[in-house]
């Protein structure tokens, strides 16, 4: 999925034709070139241009991943503005990712006191975890280098020729006119073969992990060496560089790629795995995609990752089966066996317990007497009792269906909200024309739809939280918050859908703006409550 986007940006980032030494001189002029065609245009004024969102106090130190290279510096907007459910994160475009790598390498180079190429390879081999790297390297520099496949001898790689004894073990060309290359291990191959070998690896997606072609040789070719061999092959050089950036993000726990199709951005966020039980790290990419940093599925606030995962699994496994069961089966009122009636009359005999009953009213058959095929005994005492005694399993199924229906309903409504956005734009144009309002004066509709869709998403997941919650007083408080938000959201939805049918425009505008504000505040209340509740272990869950 990233391949397309990476190639896309690589084709535009022109700094890669620089050699490694002037690599850091990324000129500012290319900022304008980074706008790729597949990047969705951002509505002016609705999105901050700053890379850092929801900045704030940050987590305690032990919430951070230990020892990952590079400091995380979100721009602090205001400590007081950070909401309990928000997490600090930063969006990186490809150029910023490269700059970030350069910054870490630049910082570590004097610490390790070795060459830039070696520092870079060491950092990559240690997956950018600088603490263990520094510890290992300062204790045993040679061992650390050798273990990572890096040469102790720090000479710049170059191609050579002029050895009459040279034979390339790949193509068997020989003689002093052959130009050859060797990784620091000294295994020589002609540059043509080395190049072909490298290209093959690069096209498989490899970058810094490419080793010498010799069987069982672990020596890394190194970035300088690779760039030297690929210097006349722009396409593969770009690909090599893009593979490097990709591995930078993939190798680190605190970075993920935005999972939206064709999105080129990566997101940095420091949330420990263990914190995912009580925190939902929802992040928003610059492309507009909202997703969970922890599991990379669409935003599932306020349900934590493990719950969301379990729920989605349950939906995949159960929903088909359970709805089928609900429609097609009944339970024996005596032994609770699940029974499907696949033909025959209403006189049922349970295969398990031999209980005889009527399929229509579930009452004992003995009381039916002559009323064969025609059950008119709905109000009879015994059958009523039989129907009332829904067994535990059936009750659980009913419970699941209850929550699933509501979950699903919000999901569908959220999809409709996206459609609504299209009609809203039409409505806004219409209002502008008819009432000669300015563009800014009709933006309230857009804001309302934005709030609607985020509330739908949150509401959807509140049902998952509720499904796994044990009933107690705390749950009742939660459900009150949920129902407040839900009814407010529905009212707002109604207003937005038919803005012109609710009276004079000024009136509606005020109503919608008021309602939007109210819904938003209900949304914040609910999220604050759930975020704090999860952290305080306020609720008991069945999983």
């Amino acid at each position: 999925m990233y391949e397309y986007s990476e190639d896309e940006f690589m084709a535009e980032g022109d700094d890669f034709v620089y050699s490694a030494s002037d690599y850091s001189e990324i000129d500012d002029g290319e900022e304008s070139a980074e706008e790729t065609p597949n990047q969705r245009s951002q509505p002016v004024g609705t999105q901050t241009q700053n890379n850092t969102f929801s900045a704030g106090a940050g987590f305690d130190d032990d919430d951070y991943y230990g020892g990952e290279g590079g400091e995380f510096e979100p721009v602090i907007a205001s400590h007081s503005s950070k909401k309990p459910w928000e997490v600090d994160f930063k969006v990186f475009d490809p150029n910023e990712l490269r700059a970030k790598q350069e910054a870490i390498i630049g910082r570590m180079e004097p610490v390790l006191a070795t060459s830039k190429d070696a520092t870079t390879l060491l950092l990559r081999a240690y997956l950018w975890k600088d603490e263990p790297l520094v510890e290992d390297y300062l204790t045993d520099p040679e061992g650390t280098l050798t273990k990572s496949g890096i040469s102790i001898d720090q000479t710049s790689p170059c191609t050579m020729s002029g050895d009459p004894d040279f034979v390339c073990e790949i193509c068997f060309c020989d003689g002093e006119e052959e130009e050859y290359f060797a990784a620091p291990c000294g295994h020589r191959y002609c540059t043509a073969c080395y190049h072909t070998y490298l290209v093959g690896k690069v096209q498989e997606g490899a970058s810094w992990r490419i080793t010498c072609p010799t069987h069982k040789c672990k020596m890394l070719v190194g970035e300088e060496g690779a760039r030297l061999l690929l210097k006349d092959d722009e396409e593969n050089l770009l690909r090599y560089n893009s593979n490097l950036t990709r591995s930078f993000v993939n190798d680190r726990d605190s970075f993920v790629w935005c999972p939206a199709p064709n999105c080129v951005y990566a997101i940095e966020c420091h949330v420990a795995r263990s914190a995912l039980y009580t925190t939902v790290p929802s992040v928003e990419c610059k492309c507009g995609n909202r997703f969970c940093f922890g599991c990379q599925i669409a935003d599932h606030m306020p349900a934590p990752c493990y719950m969301a995962e379990k729920w989605l699994q349950k939906c995949r496994d159960d929903s088909e089966t359970s709805s089928w069961m609900k429609v097609n089966t009944k339970e024996c009122t005596k032994c609770r066996s699940i029974i499907e009636k696949n033909g025959g009359c209403n006189h049922m005999t349970c295969r398990e317990c031999r209980y005889e009953f009527c399929w229509v009213c579930m009452g004992s058959w003995a009381e039916h007497g002559q009323h064969y095929y025609n059950c008119n005994r709905f109000n009879e005492e015994s059958s009523k009792e039989a129907r009332d005694s829904i067994s535990e399993t059936r009750a659980q199924l009913e419970r699941y269906i209850h929550y699933f229906t509501r979950y699903n309903n919000h999901e569908q409504s959220a999809k409709l909200a996206r459609k609504l956005l299209a009609t809203t734009e039409k409505n806004m144009e219409q209002l502008q024309r008819e009432l000669t309002l300015s563009w800014i004066e009709v933006q309230f509709l857009n804001d309302a739809v934005d709030v609607l869709s985020i509330c739908r998403s949150t509401l959807k997941w509140t049902y998952v939280l509720a499904f796994y919650m044990k009933t107690d007083n705390q749950m009742i408080i939660f459900e009150n918050n949920q129902s407040d938000l839900e009814s407010a959201t529905e009212q707002l939805n109604d207003l937005v859908e038919n803005p012109t049918s609710h009276g004079a425009i000024e009136d509606i505008k005020r109503k919608i703006i008021d309602k939007t504000t109210y819904v938003k505040s209900r949304w914040e209340t609910l999220l604050t409550d759930t975020a704090l509740g999860l952290q305080e272990n306020r609720w008991q869950f069945t999983i």
Partner: protein, 151 residues
């Protein structure tokens, strides 16, 4: 045409300095397709057998590994019913510095040292692990049945 040069050179070397117990020759009209005869290593259940293999050098060779397959029926945990061989250097551990000679030697070594922990033929591997004696006996029988040099 560096690839052809390499292949010719390899063939030349294989003829001049053949590997003991292995005969590999390209068929007429296709320098990339080899008929291979391999003697079963002594001290193994395959001893005394002569096994037929086919070896093909794909277009990308030597950047991509050769494709090798046993044509003689084999009872071996890393060789399946179709004669396909599970060997790391024929897959991700391939190095362009390896040659037909080294590949065939590795295959011969695999016959001496079966690795039931990384199986291709699961039933054979299972047998090898639960009752090695019986497995070796079967392998010896198969060698007698299918890999007699006279056949």
């Amino acid at each position: 045409m560096a690839t052809t040069k390499r292949i010719l050179k390899e063939v030349e070397r294989l003829n001049k300095d053949p590997v003991p117990g292995i005969l590999a020759q390209p068929i007429e009209g296709n320098i990339r397709y080899f008929d291979v005869l391999m003697d079963g290593p002594s001290q193994s259940p395959y001893a005394g057998g002569r096994f037929k293999l086919e070896l093909f050098l794909p277009e990308e060779y030597p950047m991509a590994p050769p494709k090798v397959r046993f044509l003689t029926k084999m009872y071996h945990p890393n060789i399946d019913k179709l004669g396909r061989i599970c060997l790391d250097i024929l897959k991700d551990k391939w190095s362009p510095a390896l040659q037909i000679r080294t590949v065939l030697l590795s295959i011969q070594a695999l016959l001496s040292a079966p690795n039931p922990d990384d199986p291709l033929a699961n039933d054979v591997a299972e047998q090898w692990k639960t009752n090695e004696k019986l497995a070796i006996q079967t392998a010896t029988q198969w060698t007698q049945m299918y890999a007699k040099p006279s056949q």
